[in-house]
C-alpha cells in the first residue's frame, strides 16, 4: 500500500513538473501554473508518506495556496497574450539539455553511493515545534523580520508613480 501511494505521488509530481516546463497542449501560462499547483500537492502527499505531516500541511497551505495564487494574480495582472511560439534557440536548447543531463547524471551517480537510510521513528509535530522554539528560536525571529521586509519591499515596488 505504502509503495503504491509513493509511486502514484512520485509519477504525479514528475509528470506535472515536466508539463510545467514543456506544455505541449497549450501556450497559456495559467495551465502551467495549474500544473505547478498539482506538483505541489503531489509533493505534500510525499511529505505525508515521510511522516512530515506538519510540513505537508504547510506545503499545501503556503505553497499551493499563497504562492500559486500570487502567480495567478501576476499572470492576470499582466494579461499575457498567448506567449507566441518563439523558436527556442537550437544552440541554447542543446546547451541547456547538456547541462541538465550532465547534472542529472552526476546526481544519479552520487545516489549510487549514498547509503540506504534506515527506517527511523521520526518525531511528530510536537517535537518539531519544541525544536523550533528552543534551539532555533533566533532563526525563527529572523524569518519573521524577513517576511516584514519582503512585504515592505513589495509595497514599495508596486507603488504606482504619483501621476
Amino acid at each position: 500500500m505504502h509503495a503504491t501511494l509513493f509511486y502514484l505521488f512520485a509519477a504525479l509530481a514528475l509528470m506535472s513538473g515536466l508539463l510545467v516546463a514543456f506544455n505541449p497542449f497549450s501556450r497559456n501560462p495559467v495551465t502551467r501554473a495549474m500544473f505547478l499547483v498539482l506538483a505541489m500537492i503531489a509533493l505534500s502527499g510525499l511529505f505525508v508518506l515521510l511522516h512530515a505531516y506538519f510540513l505537508a500541511a504547510i506545503q499545501v497551505l503556503v505553497y499551493a495556496g499563497a504562492v500559486m495564487v500570487l502567480f495567478l494574480f501576476v499572470i492576470m495582472l499582466m494579461d499575457l497574450r498567448e506567449s507566441e511560439r518563439r523558436r527556442v534557440g537550437a544552440f541554447a536548447a542543446v546547451l541547456g539539455l547538456a547541462a541538465v543531463s550532465g547534472l542529472g547524471a552526476l546526481l544519479f551517480g552520487a545516489l549510487r553511493q549514498a547509503p540506504a537510510g534506515t527506517e527511523a521513528a521520526v518525531g511528530s509535530t510536537r517535537d518539531l515545534g519544541r525544536l523550533l522554539f528552543t534551539q532555533h528560536l533566533f532563526p525563527f525571529e529572523i524569518v519573521s523580520v524577513l517576511l516584514l521586509v519582503a512585504m515592505v519591499g513589495v509595497i514599495m515596488l508596486s507603488q504606482r508613480e504619483a501621476e
Binding site: 541547456g96 547541462a99 541538465v100 550532465g102 547534472l103 552526476l106 551517480g109 552520487a110
Partner: protein, 618 residues
C-alpha cells in the same frame, strides 16, 4: 744622504708635477705665464730630486716603505687582497727617472715658446704636469697594480694632451682612438696581473722576484701566457705591431706633446715595463716578443718611407725604433734595450723639437713637399735636425751607433734572421731620415711660406742644442758598466759579433744615405711611387691597417651593440614589458564579453559552475 731625506725625496719627485697641475686647475683664472712657470718649476724640481737620488743611491737602491692603499678581506686569511703604494728605486728606475725628468724639463721649457699664442695655455701645462706625474709614477712603481694605475693615468693624460685642440674633430677623434686602443692593451695587462696574483698571491715586484728566484716553476704552465698578457700592456702603450695605429694619429696634438709623449717617455714606458718584469718571461715568451718587435720595426720603417707629413715620418720612425728595443728585450738583452731607449729618447726628442720649430716657422705647415731650402734660413734647426738624423742612423761617434750596434750584436748571436731584419731596418731608417733632410732643408723652397721662414726664438733652440749635445754624448754610456742595473741571465755577446754588427750597421747607414741622395737630391716631387707603384701606394696607405681595424670594429663592437640595442628595444622592452601590459589589456577585454546582459547565459554559467563543483567534490 740622511735616512729621512731618502724617504721624502721620492715623494717630492713624484708629487711636484702633480702639485703644479692641481694648483693650475684650482686657480682657474691663471695667467699663461704663471701656469707655465708653475709647471716648469714642478718638473725641474723633480729633475733635481732625481739627480740627487741617482747620485746618492746608484748601486745601493732605496729602502722600500710601502703604504697600505687598499686592504680587502681578512688580512690573515689566504684569499685577502692587500694593495700597497711603495717605490722600487733600483739602478733601472733611477736612470729612467733621470731620462724622463731631463727630457720632460727641456720639453716644458721649449713648449713655453712653442705654445705662446695658444688660447688655453693653463690647461695645456696642467695636462703636461699631470702626464709627467703619471710617467714618474710608472717609473717608481713598487708593485704591478700601482704600475697599472699609473699606466692608465698616463693613457688618460695623453688623451687630454692629444685632444688639447678639442674643437678640431680630427684631434678629438685621434685622442679617443688613442685612449681606447691603449685600453685594449691594458686589458691584457690587467688579466696578466690577475693571473700572476691568483697564482703567486702577491703583486709586489720585489716579492715576485724573490718567489720566482726561490721556485722558478711557481707560475707553471701559465707562465708564458701570463708573460705574454703583460706584454700586451707594452704592445698597447709602445704601439707595437697589432696596436700601433693610434701613434701616427696622435700627431694631431701639439708638437711638444708629440715630442714628450710619443718619442721620449710614454712610448718608452712599454720597454721599461718589459725590463722591469724581465724575470717573469719564459724563453718562448721572449721568442714571441722578439719577433713582434722585429716585425714592428720593419713594418714601421717601410711605412715611414712614404709619408709626406713631417711629424708622421718621425712617428713611424719612433715605432720602428721601439720595435728595435722590444726585439732587444726579446733577445734577452734588456740592458741593450735600455741603452737604446736612452739614446733614442734624446735624439728623437731633438728631431721632434726641430720639426716643431720648422712647423712653427712655416705657420703650422706639416707637409714636407711644401717646405724646402730651409738650410740657409734656419741654420740652428738644420744642424740640430742633422745631428739627430745621424744619431738615429748610427754614425760611429754619436749615441745611436753604440746602442744600435749592441742590439745588432745580440741579434747576431741569438737569432740570425732577426739580425737581417735589423740591418734592413737600419738601412730603411737611414733612407727615410735623409729623405726628410734633403726634402725639407735641401734644394729650393717650394712654397712662399717656406721662403719667408725665420729661425725660432732662443727659448726654443736652446733646449734643442742641449738635446743635440746629449744625443751626441750619450754614446759614452757604453763605457759605464751596468748603468741600468744587472739583469739575470743576460750574457754579453762575444767581441767578434759586436765588431761584425758595427760594420754592418755603418754599411747600412752609408748605403741608405746614398740611396736617399740619389732619389731625393733636388727632387720636386716624390719619385718613389712611380718606380715602386703598388708597393709605394700600400706603404703610403699604411698597409690599410686603419681600414682593417675599422672593418673589424664594425663587425665586433658595432655589431654587438646593434644587436643588443635591437634586442633591448624589441625583446625586453617590447615583448617583455608591452607584452605583459598587452596581455593584461587583452584579458580584460576578453572577460568583458562574458557580461552579455542576457539572463539565460548567466543561469547557464551558474549551472556549469555548479556542475564543475559537483564533479570535483563527488
Amino acid at each position: 744622504m740622511p735616512e729621512s731625506l731618502l724617504i721624502t725625496l721620492p715623494w717630492l719627485v713624484l708629487l711636484a708635477p702633480l702639485a703644479a697641475a692641481v694648483a693650475i686647475l684650482l686657480r682657474g683664472r691663471m695667467s699663461s705665464a704663471s701656469s707655465a712657470a708653475l709647471s716648469i718649476g714642478g718638473v725641474l724640481l723633480s729633475f733635481i730630486g732625481s739627480v740627487g737620488l741617482w747620485v746618492a743611491c746608484r748601486g745601493k737602491g732605496v729602502p722600500e716603505h710601502p703604504l697600505i692603499w687598499l686592504q680587502a678581506g681578512d688580512a690573515l686569511a689566504a684569499g685577502s687582497l692587500t694593495l700597497s703604494f711603495g717605490f722600487k728605486l733600483d739602478d733601472l728606475s733611477l736612470w729612467m727617472l733621470l731620462v724622463v725628468t731631463g727630457v720632460a724639463s727641456l720639453i716644458h721649457i721649449y713648449s713655453w715658446g712653442y705654445m705662446r699664442e695658444d688660447r688655453a695655455i693653463p690647461r695645456y701645462f696642467a695636462g703636461l704636469s699631470l702626464f709627467t706625474f703619471s710617467m714618474l709614477g710608472i717609473v717608481m712603481a713598487g708593485n704591478l697594480v700601482q704600475l697599472f694605475i699609473f699606466w692608465e693615468l698616463v693613457g688618460v693624460s695623453s688623451y687630454l694632451l692629444i685632444g688639447h685642440w678639442f674643437e678640431r674633430p680630427r684631434a678629438a677623434d685621434a685622442a679617443k682612438k688613442a685612449l681606447i686602443i691603449n685600453r685594449v692593451g691594458d686589458l691584457g695587462f690587467l688579466i696578466g696581473i690577475l693571473m700572476v696574483w691568483s697564482i703567486t698571491g702577491t703583486v709586489g715586484l720585489g716579492a715576485l722576484a724573490e718567489k720566482l728566484a726561490v721556485n722558478p716553476e711557481l707560475l707553471g704552465t701559465s707562465a708564458t701566457l701570463a708573460g705574454l698578457l703583460i706584454f700586451c700592456g707594452c704592445v698597447g702603450k709602445s704601439a707595437q705591431f697589432p696596436l700601433h695605429v693610434w701613434l701616427p694619429d696622435a700627431m694631431e696634438g701639439p708638437t711638444p706633446v708629440s715630442a714628450l709623449i710619443h718619442a721620449a717617455t710614454m712610448v718608452a714606458a712599454g720597454v721599461y715595463l718589459l725590463c722591469r718584469v724581465f724575470f717573469l718571461f719564459t724563453p718562448d715568451a721572449l721568442h714571441v716578443i722578439s719577433w713582434v718587435g722585429g716585425g714592428t720595426a720593419l713594418l714601421a720603417a717601410l711605412i715611414a718611407l712614404q709619408q709626406d707629413d713631417l711629424k708622421r715620418v718621425l712617428a713611424y720612425s719612433t715605432l720602428s725604433q721601439l720595435g728595435f728595443m722590444v726585439m732587444a728585450v726579446g733577445l734577452g738583452a734588456p740592458s741593450a734595450a735600455m741603452f737604446h731607449l736612452s739614446t733614442h729618447a734624446f735624439f728623437k726628442a731633438l728631431l721632434f723639437l726641430a720639426a716643431g720649430s720648422v712647423i712653427r716657422a712655416l705657420h703650422h705647415q706639416q707637409d714636407i713637399w711644401k717646405m724646402g731650402g730651409l738650410r740657409s734660413r734656419m741654420p740652428v734647426t738644420f744642424w740640430c735636425f742633422l745631428i739627430g738624423t745621424l744619431a738615429l742612423g748610427g754614425l760611429p761617434p754619436l749615441g745611436g751607433f753604440f746602442s744600435k750596434d749592441e742590439i745588432l750584436a745580440h741579434a747576431l748571436t741569438h737569432n740570425r734572421p732577426l739580425f737581417a731584419v735589423g740591418v734592413c731596418v737600419a738601412l730603411l731608417s737611414a733612407l727615410y731620415m735623409f729623405r726628410v733632410v734633403l726634402v725639407v732643408f735641401g734644394g729650393a723652397s717650394r712654397d712662399v711660406a717656406a721662403g719667408r721662414a725665420k729661425e725660432s726664438p732662443a727659448i726654443m733652440w736652446v733646449p734643442m742644442l742641449i738635446l743635440a749635445a746629449l744625443s751626441a754624448g750619450s754614446g759614452a754610456l757604453v763605457a759605464v758598466d751596468h748603468p741600468f742595473g744587472v739583469f739575470p741571465s743576460e750574457i754579453h755577446p762575444p767581441r767578434l759579433a759586436s765588431l761584425w754588427a758595427m760594420l754592418c750597421g755603418t754599411l747600412a747607414l752609408l748605403l741608405g744615405a746614398a740611396l736617399a741622395w740619389r732619389f731625393y737630391r733636388g727632387a720636386a716631387v716624390d719619385p718613389l711611387p712611380l718606380q715602386w707603384g703598388v708597393l709605394a701606394r700600400t706603404m703610403r696607405q699604411r698597409f690599410y691597417f686603419d681600414e682593417l681595424y675599422l672593418w673589424l670594429n664594425r663587425w665586433s663592437h658595432e655589431l654587438l651593440s646593434h644587436m643588443s640595442d635591437f634586442a633591448e628595444r624589441w625583446l625586453i622592452a617590447g615583448a617583455g614589458v608591452r607584452g605583459a601590459s598587452g596581455l593584461a589589456l587583452f584579458a580584460g577585454s576578453a572577460l568583458r564579453l562574458l557580461q552579455s546582459g542576457n539572463l539565460q547565459t548567466y543561469a547557464l554559467w551558474m549551472a556549469a559552475g555548479l556542475l564543475l563543483l559537483l564533479y570535483l567534490f563527488l
